[in-house]
Symmetry: C4
Subunit: 233 residues, 4 copies
């Protein structure tokens, strides 16, 4: 039996509408921050109070997106009826997003990009060491590498979940592929996607200049704790 | 005898107008994606149902282009009469585009740029290895190097056709020169031009970090097949 | 006893308003010059004729800033009452800015960023050598490295002041962290922040090409003296 | 005796106005093409039919420029009376521009920038080899290095003229400093400034990948001749 959007309770329909607006708006941050070319990146957000999430439609360019074109899916990654214009399929990465929402209940947002420097680290299969205060603040340690996994089943989602479950980092670099990031909502996951590329870039350049200086592990932990709990409004 | 645009059948004139609009619009993607400086790149598209294609005028800057300024040419690369304002010559790369259309009938669009990282690989004469899933999706293998060829006769066109004829890749890096890309239409060729630069960039950076991990050949083939046949709407 | 903005003399209130306008406007230069991602950078300016300065609110994005949202602080880094909307905290770097204003009375503006190339030099802990005329003009010598210091007390401010007190350079690279710059006003400090990234970038690339040629010390001093005293209107 | 603008013949005043408009507009190309930060670059153009040229005012930001703020100078680099608002001084590089106009009568435009990659080559003192067809087209050989010269007298202008007099290249990299480019008018000199940075960038990256393949000298000469005489409208 397929779920139908306009049969859902009014508060869920309202939460869907709000999530669609946010996710549509947040996609503009991907090209704006230089994280994507063409259509190669996507944002999703869990719908509060329902087993649903909203995600980018597949292969649509960023400046053609609107709240109405965001696809509504179940946590199994199935598009619900009346959840978007009939002709739009959800992102080809929907199964990976859905797997994360099913297995990490505190995650409210997921982002996937192929941002250039993060992809480079993913391609050599090396975690990005935590050698800047920005990295300590946001990631609380190295940015880990996930397994090489092929699109088409749950293997990407599994790789993301298994790598991030025991990590302070909200970002994983899937080998030869690119970063997936998570957050309490879509905005936090987008921020992590922005930060993983910036950290990848600065550490790449540091390596070209010489040997990055280590930051002690307990200092990293203290910076991360402070940033996650004190920073911002 | 020179072809005259307004003597052609109405449906061909209509197809010419549509192609001019698309090709004019698509040129905006070149500077937007950082693929060109000054006037150093051009897009063309075959006119459906006629032995014609439309291409950028030579030496005109991207923000001065309009559908009306796109030049209409025969498959021999000759500008047709009444096909554009009298004072505009077609791109200096017209002969290469024309050669591709004459010899690869399934090609509907051609793009040439001097995008920075792709030019760098072309200058050392080394194919870009297929070490990212993005590269596997779009190119299905390494991005090959074409011969060094001089502008002025058919040698560039021949080099493009001979290199791409037996390749899954829609892009070739002409040695010391830059990329040519092909597609079923101009938009697909522009997408390939965007992707070749992005892949060139990420693999360059991966090399600076260490040794890129190979993706097995059959996995590359599977990713490419899926992407070309399933992705998008 | 907390200072209250609308109890201050009229000329101070007017100076606060002018500083807020300038500091709000100058924040736009940070993303425009590619110095920041997300909210990772801040500008402050001393208020003429008062022991106050204005600074960015914490964690607010650059395109949401307005003169009204700039936070007014004492030189001890305490937000004054009625100095901004109640819900806004000053930048998490406020203590460092305040320390600089207390200890360097000729400083009227302070900027902190995590600009990419400057962070890379900070991460290897190496001063940027003065090998371009632009660097000689703006910095009058190498751009020095400051100590590794943790946010939360005066140690960052101390590191900035101790490093810059005896230097011609208006910029210091705090180890593993990023640049702090100073100036006679906020605009001058922003200019130094722009220049430190540009110099970091060009010298990084020069190193990749070969060995930068030294500029003799007396020539550096002469260029710096001329630029600081003759250039501009 | 100081020249006064409104005492000049009507056709010269008209040529001055046209040059001011062009030079003001062309300055927008410098930030647009990523060639400058802050105010670090300038364009000038010779006035047809008079021993005058117009140039950027010193230290004014690019988005505050207007035709009226362009400074009119004699070929000795002296600002003429009534040639601009009283408070604006010409660019601090005016003496170098003036020297070029006095000694190279076929030069109608001069541009100076500190574009990043060109500065890097200037800093290691190595000419940029001609290994791409774009470089052959525009520069007709390597882009030469000029002497290290200090601002304040004619030594920069002399270095530019002596280096370019016997070169096909319209660009010279002044050691530890940056590029100066020349052209038949200001637009051609701006184009050369754009191209020198692009060539510097692609050859830097090629070097990181391996060994650039040489282009034979007679092929370079043929490409350059064709491009200078056939390309464009």
């Amino acid at each position: 039996m397929t779920l139908v959007l306009h049969d859902l309770p009014a508060d869920v329909q309202s939460a869907v509408a709000a999530a669609r607006q946010r996710v549509s708006d947040l996609h503009a941050e991907l090209p704006r921050n230089g994280l994507v070319v063409w259509t190669a990146g996507n944002v999703s957000e869990r719908v509060a109070g329902a087993d649903l999430f909203v995600i980018k439609p597949s292969g649509v360019s960023y400046d053609e997106l609107s709240p109405e074109s965001m696809v509504v899916c179940t946590l199994e990654g199935e598009k619900i009826a009346d959840g978007t214009p009939e002709h739009l399929k959800p992102s080809s990465d929907t199964a990976a997003h859905a797997y994360v929402y099913r297995h990490m209940e505190y995650v409210g947002g997921v982002v996937h990009t192929h941002s250039t420097y993060a992809v480079a680290w993913a391609t050599v299969g090396e975690p990005i060491p935590c050698v800047t205060t920005m990295a300590a603040d946001e990631f609380g340690g190295e940015i880990p590498i996930g397994p090489f996994a092929i699109i088409g089943d749950d293997s990407i989602g599994q790789g993301v979940v298994e790598t991030l479950r025991d990590s302070r980092s909200p970002a994983v670099l899937m080998q030869n592929h690119g970063p997936f990031t998570i957050g309490r909502d879509a905005k936090a996951a987008v921020k992590a996607a922005v930060m993983v590329e910036e950290v990848a870039r600065s550490v790449t350049i540091a390596r070209q200049l010489g040997t990055p200086i280590d930051i002690p592990g307990d200092t990293i932990a203290a910076l991360n704790d402070r940033y996650q709990n004190v920073y911002g409004q």
